[in-house]
Amino acid sequence: MIKIAHISDTHITPESAFKGYPYDLIVNEINTTDFDFVIHTGDVTNQGLREEYEHANYALKKIQKPLIVLPGNHDSRNVGYELFEKYVGPLYGVYERKDLVVIWLDSTIPDLSDGRVGGYKFKWLKEKLEEYSSKKFKIVAAHHHLVPLPDTGRERNVLFNAGDVLDLLLKHDVNLYVCGHKHVPNVYKIEHLIVANAGCTSCRKTRKGDVNSYNIIKVYEDGKVKVTIKKVTGDKVSRDFKIPKQRIFIPKGERLFRIIQISESNVSDRIYFRKRVLENAIKAINERYKPDLVVHCGDIVDYGIERYYERALEFYEKIKAEKIIIPGHNDITYLGYDLFKEYFGEPQIMEVGNHFVFIPIMTAQYETPIGVLGRIGQRVLTTLLEEYMEKFTTVVMHHNVIPIPRSRELGFLEDGGNVLKILASHAADLVLTGHGGNAVGIKVENTPIINAGSISWELHRNPFGNSFNLIDIYPSMVVAFEVQATWGSRKLLGMWKIKTEVPWKN
């Protein structure tokens, strides 16, 4: 077993932001128990100032275990990243221990709070993952969030290119991503990757009245992992993970439901709108796939003007199946807010048969690609998920709650962290989103979250081309394919065993 202490956000400074007592308490605990090494995921100092680095240099030496330290946004302030190398150590590197490797990097942007793993750094990370591919347990450490975190205010404050980084880590079978940043301790299982955020070890700025804490990570020989959030009050919350390498699916039983998920039709008379592709796709949906429900996750028109809505209605009237159409940010530009209701009606909760319920969530705002659900909206969503707990619940919205490869994190909900937490903790059975122009399917905890690429808009980010998603629900599993809009070839987005309570089991 390897035991790791994961500390973060110490914010060492002579000023009141730094609390010496919890720092010494946690360091003493690390020194006197059987930890093998320590990872500090950044914000060592408060402002990146020389006097703070001098103080930090002294304070870090109190830790009598092998120590990995990487910079946070606060450390890079005031050109602090240069002082970091002088007083603390290298900004990125690799640490090996038996069958385990830690690859750690600097995700900061000088003088900004946001994070990024830029072009050369991304390439470096990829090369290191290839180099250490055969290590049994791989950890990547950086300061910034990989997925939105609850109670962080600007919850979409993930890495600028979090979608690409998450995709890279999943492809390379990284076991654990550790980070800090917003002082919120949190542990998520994202597909086969554990994402552990540490709270803050010794900064006064805790959130929601929380106390200082650190994380304890135990990695066992048989592949089990235990992550414990330990607070200075002694309170502990632990989670155990046993993530098998082999993921086997043996389909049994008849298909219960079929959904076609579409997004970003962007119907218009602009050159980027591919009318022929949309016509062919609608024909295939009607004649070949014959779904039980078609869900359009936003941006049905390019601009909210009457001409485009008229055209969009002509296309979508042709679909024979039941439909749920929700507005994206393009749909509510100009007169769109009213036109959407006029042409497609206000999205309603839809119960289908005895088992399925679809909950549309409105997140689009005027003049910005960033969405918001809001505090009342969050309560409404929570209540609905509780109310329909007995059914197979699918939440439908436009904006992303997980990062999308090849896109910047602009399509997030402002309060994406809280929304993701609500969806995961209430075990929504399925979440469908439609921003970012790229298809992806990722399970967070027990909730598969599927984003649709663009069906007929040339300005997309999908190497597969224009596409829509085909989602089949079987008694024990959900299977999602991306279907190439023109050729009909399929690519598996994900297969997930249903681990939530489902009505047909009773």
Binding site: E130, Q246, R247, F249, P463, G465, N466
Partner: protein, 135 residues
């Protein structure tokens, strides 16, 4: 396509399969429903066989075997595998050597993925779509 990347980056990590006693017809139904060209055969969480659509044509349809034939009788038992850390270019060499379009990927003597040549054809489909999408 990056030739030096380990095959784990390109492979499909979720294995779809049947059990040895399942009939060929049941297997074909799964292949059609999931639109895939191959299936693995599991027994006690172990992969004991593998077959493709063309194996079914060659070993069931042409010899005239009944559709109720269990898959264990027609599956390939000699599995051609590569380790998940093998670079893509070396995997392609192995596939060319055996003239196969699908290959199983193992790690620690456990089959954990499958790689198919069609996974590399994305870019062509996109280009052909762009070519005919213009008005």
């Amino acid at each position: 396509m990056e030739e030096d990347a380990p095959i784990k980056v390109y492979m499909v990590k979720k294995l779809l399969g049947v059990t040895p006693e399942d009939s060929v017809q049941e297997a074909c139904r799964i292949m059609v429903n999931f639109d895939i060209g191959s299936l693995v055969v599991f027994e006690d969480k172990r992969v004991i066989g593998f077959f493709t659509k063309s194996d079914i044509i060659r070993r069931v349809v042409v010899p005239g075997l009944p559709y109720s034939t269990p898959v264990k009788e027609i599956m390939s038992k000699e599995l051609i595998t590569v380790n998940s850390n093998t670079p893509l270019k070396d995997v392609l060499k192995v596939m060319a050597e055996h003239r196969i379009k699908h290959i199983l990927v193992e790690d620690d003597n456990q089959i954990i993925g499958i790689f198919s040549l069609s996974d590399l054809l994305e870019a062509n489909r996109r280009k052909l779509e762009t070519a005919i999408a213009r008005e």
